[in-house]
Amino acid sequence: MLKVSGLETFYGTSQALFGMTFDVNSGEVVTLMGRNGMGKTTTINSIIGIVPPSSGSIEFAGHEVSKLASFKTANLGIGLVPEGRQVFPNLSVRENLVATASNHQKLDDPWTIEKVYAMFPELELRATSMANLLSGGEQQMLAIGRALMTNPRLLVLDEATEGLAPLIREKIWAALADIRKSGLSILLVDKNLKDLLKLADRHFIVEKGQVVWNGTSAQLSKAEDVQHRYLGV
């Protein structure tokens, strides 16, 4: 579904990605892990077109998207939950969801506002609240709901549970497990190894802008040296 090869991205003259290569298959949950500043968010921003790569290829659903405008890439079926939530603060919860609703993939059973509310009942209770008045956890739920409302083929979450209380994290992990059951592919960036091992199929560890290790959850849980060296566990 998503195939990233040899991706190189610069911020001005400073190179952030050095030949990033990984892939996500249909229906799979894949993670990008690594310490801060290693290029995980840059990778995601390059995929969606916010920070266009200077070389390499990004193939999504049979299309080369590395040169596409971000809205065109998104319309091919990538739903992004950005780092720091970034909900629209001047729109209400309901408006955040409605504004982004689309079904470019013509799915038979698309995500609707009711389905999002069923997954996150907190959002229905705060439907008319302005999004900037929500707690961090509620904002993350809204960001996930907003991405689901675009009816993506691939859900991309950058720092899915960063800065959230343990109870809220559990809710987010449970929601992601449900989303996974629906068959949606997920690309996930997070630091909670334990939860990621439970949820994901495969993992790519990123160090200095490139993948230095990849394997399944079973392989990673056994590879204690990898965990220690690259994840500081």
Binding site: S70, F71, A74, L91, V98, A99, A101, P110, I113, A147
Partner: protein, 334 residues
């Protein structure tokens, strides 16, 4: 999205704080009723006070429509246009030039004013919206100044001296030669403009434009061609302001390039900021207050612009959310 779901999505949507508190709504309603009834009462009772005359209020209403249209892009879309008065001038010349050539039909003047302004907005917006921040402000001002100098160079239509309109736009069902009718038509146009903005900002289109104001890159990453959305809003605002220009041209029966100078654009911007950006009625409060204070001060001193400037600076510094914010929450600094 299935049809049913789209219909469901659009149900019961209203920006929570667009009308503000219950008391704020009542004050707004009373204000709009006063704006309609006081000049009418003054007219029928023969009161000769300038500040409540039909002429004075009609001028305010024309400017209020222009401010409402500017608020659509500035207050809801975050597009700080410093050239909005250009559309007033274009709208006014779309009345004046055909009238000069003997075409006096309002059915020609008004659609022409709206479409010509919208077309100018389309061309200039297509370029301007490729820039951001201070560049956008400067380029919109530059385009407006180009319009200003264009009309200045038209000697046939008076150039710098302007053009007198000897006959107002003719409609077969309403006669806006009558100042009472012109006042009522202008008031109706203002209400229609406010309603149009209300519908626009609460539609999904409007939500995307408002979302762009807070985080355009994010809206783009969620699948929206934000440039097209913002340009559409820009064109709608231009057309709406062209209507204000056509009404103003009919009201003053004299048009000149001064109507579209950069200082006029600044005044419109100030009306919006003074009234409260991103609020439905704020621009109306702003336009009324702006013109009233201007008129009052000019009766006391020739140098009215100095105290006027101080008052405006103080109002921006100390009234959060503009006059609309003050009305909605009272004198509470939260």
């Amino acid at each position: 999205m299935t049809d049913t779901t789209s219909a469901q999505l659009n149900q019961h949507l209203r920006t929570p704080d667009l009308f503000g508190s219950a008391s704020g709504r009542i004050i707004t309603l009373v204000f709009m009723v006063i704006l309609l009834c006081v000049p009418l009462a003054a007219h029928f009772l023969g009161v000769r006070l300038q500040l409540v005359s039909l002429d004075f209020i009609t001028r305010i209403l024309c400017l209020a429509i222009a401010a409402v249209s500017l608020n659509l892009i500035l207050g809801f879309g975050g597009m700080i246009s410093f050239g909005h008065a250009a559309y007033i001038g274009i709208g006014a010349y779309c009345v004046g030039i055909p009238a000069y050539h003997g075409y006096e039909s309002g059915w020609l003047h008004f659609p022409l004013a709206i479409f010509a302004s919208a077309a100018f907005a389309l061309v200039t917006g297509a370029v301007s919206l490729r820039t951001k921040g201070v560049y956008f402000i400067m380029i919109t001002m530059a385009f407006a100044q180009m319009g200003y100098y264009f009309f200045l160079s038209l000697d046939e239509y008076g150039g710098d001296d302007g053009l007198t309109i000897y006959s107002r736009s003719m409609f077969n069902i309403i006669n806006i030669e009558n100042k009472l009718v012109l006042f009522l038509v202008t008031y109706a146009c203002l209400v229609a403009s406010i309603y149009a903005v209300y519908r626009i900002v609460n539609s999904r289109f409007g939500m995307v434009v408002r979302g762009c104001q807070s985080n355009e890159a994010r809206m783009k990453a969620l699948g929206y061609n934000t440039y097209a959305y913002k340009l559409t809003a820009y064109v709608i605002a231009g057309g709406m302001c062209g209507l204000a220009g056509a009404l103003l041209g009919n009201f003053t029966t004299f048009i000149s390039p001064d109507m579209m100078g950069w200082s006029r654009s600044g005044e419109l911007m100030f009306m919006v900021i003074l009234g409260g950006t991103g609020s439905l009625f704020g621009p109306v409060f702003g336009a009324v207050t702006f013109v009233f204070i201007e008129e009052l001060l000019s009766t006391f001193t020739t140098y009215w612009a100095l105290p006027f400037g101080v008052l405006l600076v103080l109002s921006v510094l100390f009234i959060k959310g503009g006059l609309n914010g003050l009305i909605q929450r009272g004198w509470r600094r939260d």
